[in-house]
Point group: C2
């Protein structure tokens, strides 16, 4: 794969080592200044192991990708990592990675790659900037990127620039309140979007209503639930309707607060298609009153599995838009 | 009153003619580059009259203020006006001003003051930037300014800059959804913060619950309701609790979405004091789960009646932060 342009462009020969770390898997790849990814490889995250297992697995994957690519010169290391984190220090405590509590990921990577700048942001932020740079929100100045998966996260672009917030936590759409009397949220609040719409909450609601997988050997997860919904299971359909409804209400609130052009929705639950998206759009339409709110488009994500590494690279390739902290 | 500094500062001798237009009254004043207001005068808005009454009343007030000040040289005309509006064109259709429907206020003022730039924004935006420039949010990079009054509005500063949104409508915190099954909102949506917490809605709720003013000659308004609440009227207290509760839930959502440092609350209902503010803070505490959400301070506005004109002047005096459109 050709990674370099032939014409002389000061950014053209810059290559970012891009890392995407989640509770299920981690991905590493090389991304050029135009957003082309190559040598992307993945490995499962040993997220339930304490000690050095995560760091060791990451280093093995880094070695493998760099070896496969012939150890090219890299000009930056970009990282999207599950949160929460202390930002921009990059001290991470991902909810779903038990071995990393206040783990100094950014500093460890600086030691691993001396002399090379390391930049790190929330994984949902990386998804949002990837979609704004090269995906479904390209060309828009005011956009939300969000993920509906094991958690519900997001990132915001306003006036063409990423919103970091005071401590790098802006974009947490999963914790806007949808139903003030709703279920307790693992954040400590109540009725948050995430407490209603995240995959495990959606599955738990269905189980409580009496849903059992049609194929009894299938796992009790969002994918099985979606398959059963597509076969007409009414509880499964109602569970996705509930999840989609809450996302739609949240989108109406975001559009009112920020006068956005577009919302890009990605993540595992979106794979369910219209059983999630149709009630989402219906709830949005019901709650979007003013013309400027109604105008916000809701579209599926385009970059899928590559969003994480492309967004991590965007922290360098488009740093005037997406990186406000120092190196 | 001394309007000018004696030392040579390129901005020091700049004087903005600042205009604040609402459905109840309009205010005009002169504001220097340091945010000092002088010659501020007010007149009731003939908001229920059709035709030219509003424009004529504004012009009489402008003439009076300029005459009183000795017709000084002004370098800009800044305007905060009730919305909605088409922005930055400044074509206004304020909900509570029946004579102005798609009224080209910015163009009319440019004709009235040839050669002088005219800048116009939503009145709640002007309140927010005034509090960020010279009030309770001064020195903060990430702030919400909001007004709880006949309507519920707001403005957002993130990363030190005003958020305009795609069409100048960012900051509409009054239309985030608090209770998806709640009352219909005049915006066309349902369960919006404004539909629950605005003064007339709070009064209407109390009346429906059986509240009658203790002094039967007092008007059925938020001020009378507050007075009765302070005398221990349980329905009046419950009405303010309901209004404050909804604002607190909305603040938790904003803090989660934007990682804000401070929220400044102004407007008529805030005059009620703790009967509004205590349930507001209680609801915020209940719904603010994560550390970065909890950290947001909630403080009362400082600039009161002057916020509108000071914010209108900030569109010039601090245009690198607060004005992104052309002249």
């Amino acid at each position: 794969m050709a990674l370099f342009n032939t014409k002389v462009d000061p950014k053209a020969n810059k290559l970012t080592l891009a890392i995407d770390i989640g509770g299920t898997k981690m991905a590493v790849g090389l991304v050029d200044a135009d957003g082309n990814a190559s040598h992307v490889d993945r490995t499962p995250s040993p997220a339930n192991q304490r000690g050095d297992a995560m760091w060791d697995a990451l280093n093995r994957l880094l070695d493998k990708v760099l070896d496969d690519a012939g150890n090219p010169e890299i000009t930056g290391v970009g990282v999207g990592c599950a949160g929460p984190m202390i930002w921009p220090e990059g001290v991470v405590s991902p909810t779903n990675i038990v071995g990393w509590r206040e783990f100094p990921l950014r500093r460890k990577l600086k030691e691993r790659f001396p002399g090379i700048p390391v930049r790190l942001h929330n994984d949902a932020i990386c998804m949002a900037i990837a979609e704004n740079w090269k995906g479904a929100a390209a060309g828009h100045q005011n956009a939300l990127g969000m993920v509906v998966s094991t958690g519900v996260g997001g990132g915001l672009i306003v006036g063409g620039r990423l919103v970091d917030g005071g401590f790098g936590n802006a974009g947490h759409i999963g914790h806007i309140v949808i139903d003030p009397e709703g279920p307790a949220c693992r954040c400590g609040g109540r009725g948050c979007l995430e407490a209603i719409s995240r995959g495990p909450a959606t599955v738990a609601w269905a189980v409580e209503e009496g849903w059992k997988p049609h194929n009894s050997s299938d796992p009790l997860d969002a994918k099985t639930l979606a398959a059963d919904a597509h076969e007409g299971d009414e509880i499964a359909i109602a569970a996705y309707r509930r999840a989609g409804w809450a996302v739609g209400v949240g989108l109406a609130s975001c559009a009112a607060l920020l006068d956005l052009d577009v919302a890009v929705i990605g993540g595992g639950l979106v794979q369910a298609g219209d059983i999630l998206m149709a009630p989402m759009k219906q709830a949005f339409d019901e709650h979007a009153g003013m013309t400027f709110v109604k105008r916000m488009k809701i579209v599926p994500a385009e970059l899928d599995q590559l969003a994480g590494v492309i967004g991590a690279a965007a922290l360098f390739a488009e740093d005037d838009r997406y990186w406000s902290a120092g190196d």
